[in-house]
Symmetry: C2
Subunit: 257 residues, 2 copies
DNA sequence: CGGGGGGTAATTGTCGACAATGTGCAATAA
DNA sequence: TTATTGCACATTGTCGACAATTACCCCCCG
């Protein structure tokens, strides 16, 4: 068999050597397929995932499928209950509140590091991402706008230089994507969104941690406040007591002075 | 076959009904065995874990062993490289720095929530844990002192009421345990350790978030500063440039005024 | 004496089959 | 009619075997 095989053919020519090192296992590919379907909405929240069905459909055995489901469960995209199987994690407001709170906490930590060590090169890379997102927004391509948005935030987190933070954030990202459609209204007002990101970058560039934190909070909570859940009877009402309290209080406390 | 079986017999008599609901799979038990060995030191950092060896030793097939290794890898206790197997995560100073930084970030977030919503009952529970730890320390039982110490911190995190935070912290806990022996000098001066915890609880009771945060930082960084790595040539020298910078700066910035 | 090739052994990745468990329906009795 | 019990089916958990890949060692060549 030729060195790179199918994997190599999918990449650039000069990646032929590196390809065998990073080719992915069947389990990884199955996980990728299922992950896509979940965040895409093809696999609706709450629906069952039967190992044998997936294995038959994808033409693999149950072992990699099972392994993939374990991965998805770790990412919070699926829930596995022993001897009963896996379901796509249902969308619940309470969980979205927790997700948002925790996301803010992680990104704050990242900003804390980043406002200390950000160099010109990193900032340029971030600015390029904002530009890309702006283009996607103007082109009306919501899907890639979402991708660019999240990629920007992930890049900020990655620049903090803490591998554990990065892993934790990656785990969150999948779930953020899962909930993105309830905040999709946000991507209508593209100018606003781009400006918020630019304000965030400016604060980072100025190495002004308090301001960066304030901008971040406003940015994320802004998206949060527009979230609409189907379980809501009628209009997008207020979030539940306790959680509202937590997010609300912090939003107020950390709002720019 | 009798209802509960072996699982029920290991519990109290009135747990017979509930037992079947919470019995654990083979994979979970294998993971528990390996996890214990890793944090205990029986399985040294860097040593290989061969699936077939474990499966033969524990009298199970490779499937649950494999599943257990995936879990351990998720927890950061093991590293899996495709077609080459799993090794116990090696102890590296850089990683310990990241671990400590991230741990502080998570616990700060917990304190932020806790100083808002802590009730008397919760505080009593925490105080009971400090007392338990103090007893263990005085009894010279270092192992259970460590357990109580971590259990206290975990309880604080749990009280924050964010499931995602809790999961992320649990993932960290295993790794903290992995590194605990490099900070074991800390458990010599038991009085000091107990006092720091009590100061933390007092700040929480007073709902004084800034003070709680300052006490927490001092507490964790205190343990950090005593860490000794074998790779160090001679005395426990300073931590590497970049990481030292990050931790040092924050320690200074957030120190009590 | 050192470095490259080839072949063997060891180990992981995947597979199909069987055992254990949960689910739902149907038959039965009150 | 309705609650209950038993049974058949669907699905997960575990197992042993085979395929794919890597590590190791020996041999050969320079």
């Amino acid at each position: 068999m030729v060195c790179g095989g199918a994997a190599a053919r999918e990449r650039g020519p000069d990646a032929v050597i590196a390809a065998p090192l990073e080719r992915e296992s069947t389990a990884t590919r199955v996980a990728a397929v299922l992950r896509d379907r979940i965040v895409e909405g093809t696999l609706a929240p709450g629906s069952r995932i039967v190992e044998l069905e997936v294995s038959r459909e994808l033409g693999v055995s149950r072992s990699p499928v099972r392994e993939a489901l374990l991965k998805l469960a770790e990412e919070g995209l699926a829930a596995i209950v022993p001897y009963r199987g896996a379901i796509v994690s249902p969308l619940r407001r309470e969980r979205f509140v927790e997700l948002t709170e925790f996301r803010i906490a992680l990104e704050r930590f990242a900003l804390d590091r980043l406002t200390e060590r950000a160099d010109a090169g990193s900032l340029d890379a971030l600015r390029a991402r904002v530009a890309a997102m702006r283009r996607a927004l103007h082109a009306g391509n919501r899907r890639s706008a979402v991708d660019e948005d999240l990629a920007l935030h992930r890049a900020i987190v990655a620049m903090a230089g803490n591998a554990l933070l990065e892993r934790a954030y990656d785990g969150l990202l999948a779930q953020i994507r899962l909930y993105i459609h309830v905040t999709s209204a946000r991507y209508q007002r593209s100018e606003e969104l781009a400006e918020e990101h630019e304000a965030l970058l400016a604060a980072i560039a100025a190495r002004d941690f308090p301001r960066a934190r304030a901008v971040l909070d406003a940015h994320i909570l802004h998206g949060f406040s527009e979230a609409v859940f189907e379980e809501d009877s009628g209009a997008p009402g207020p979030v539940p007591e306790t959680s509202q309290t937590a997010i609300g209080k912090n939003a107020r406390r950390y709002r720019p002075v």
